[in-house]
């Protein structure tokens, strides 16, 4: 009896591992920056290049940093959701315009709507590297103390907004 049960058991263990493997997404590399302070940056605004947004300007409020670019195709997928989220007034969204051309970026926002309180320009992608960006779009939730609480890799979906992002924002806003 045992000689049949052992291979069966080994097969079940292997199958369980493979099954779990199927549900994992190798593209989603867990960020080491979660629960760490957001990187320090000082970047020019997209619309008013003479103005500067610095990483300390948003201390005291929960905010989203959405990394986007006009060349990024899946940014178009998530964009209507961001516009909607901005309209709802739950949270202010800041855009990190990543390795983009200023004029095309502005045209893109005109065409698809501008959900961003401010868009800042990261032309050479250096601040992006500090944030650990590797696949645009990416969205970060940053709390009142300036600590990154969540990173969404790839486009925001209705599902991820409803289940993770919005509940987390509301919870973080309650904190002192």
């Amino acid at each position: 009896m045992m000689r049949y049960l052992i291979p069966l058991f080994a097969f079940i263990v292997l199958a369980a591992f493979l099954l779990v493997g199927l549900t994992l997404n190798p593209r989603q590399v867990p960020s080491p920056l979660i629960d760490k302070p957001a990187p320090i940056f000082q970047l020019n605004h997209l619309h008013e290049p003479e103005k500067i947004l610095s990483s300390t300007d948003n201390l005291g409020k929960v905010w989203l940093l959405n990394v986007w670019a006009s060349w990024c195709v899946s940014c178009r997928d998530e964009h209507p959701l961001l516009v909607e989220l901005a309209k709802s007034g739950i949270v202010s969204i800041y855009g990190l315009n990543y390795k983009d051309e200023r004029t095309t970026a502005m045209q893109w926002l005109k065409r698809y709507g501008d959900p961003y309180a401010v868009s800042i320009v990261d032309a050479d992608g250096k601040v992006g590297i500090d944030f650990g960006v590797y696949g645009v779009p990416e969205t970060y939730i940053i709390d009142k103390k300036g600590i990154i609480r969540h990173k969404q890799i790839g486009p925001v979906t209705a599902d991820s907004l409803e289940k993770t992002i919005v509940p987390l924002i509301i919870e973080l806003q309650k904190q002192a």
Partner: protein, 172 residues
């Protein structure tokens, strides 16, 4: 020679001597002109030392976009940025450890093809040895049990003779 004209196409291809010479001369001219333009390959970076160190470092770092390529091999935009960043850090006289730490801080251990031994990576490091040991022990026990099961039956006189004949042995 051929009754049907299907082969006239090939006949038309047969160039006369004059044409062959013209084509040959043309080719020679073309090749000669390119020889005039070619020169020493320009190094990718200004400083070959920096490039060498950068390559040695990036060989062991994973490109996060094309996950089965190292940053050294990858042509992805991400890797281009990383190489640029690492070149700059080398010029700033940062040590290899500092540069690797810079990347790990931002992208996690996943960028390392040579991950550190940590509680989360114990299975990764020692799993194969563990599997080997389990396999080896089960092989040994299996062989031992098998040996116990097999009974050695000595050959009878007649069988021994038959075997000797078959093996071509001379009678002693």
């Amino acid at each position: 020679m051929f009754k049907d004209n299907r082969f006239s196409f090939f006949k038309a291809l047969q160039l006369n001597r004059m044409k062959v010479w013209l084509v040959f001369a043309f080719l020679v001219l073309m090749l000669a002109s390119t020889l005039g333009w070619s020169k020493e390959a320009v190094p990718v970076a200004e400083d070959p030392e920096v490039e060498k160190r950068m390559l040695a470092l990036t060989m062991d770092l994973r490109c996060l976009v094309c996950q089965n390529e190292s940053i050294a091999d990858s042509r992805a935009d991400f890797s281009n940025d990383m190489r640029r960043e690492i070149r700059q850090k080398i010029k700033e006289n940062k040590s290899d450890e500092e540069i690797i730490q810079f990347l790990v801080d931002r992208y996690g251990d996943f960028v390392l093809y040579n991950p550190p031994v940590k509680p989360t990576t114990i299975m990764l490091w020692f799993g194969p040895i563990l599997l080997f040991v389990i396999g080896f022990i089960s092989l040994l026990t299996y062989l031992k049990r098998r040996r116990e099961q097999i009974e050695e039956v000595p050959l009878s006189e007649a069988e021994q003779k038959k075997a000797d004949v078959l093996l071509g042995k001379k009678k002693r």
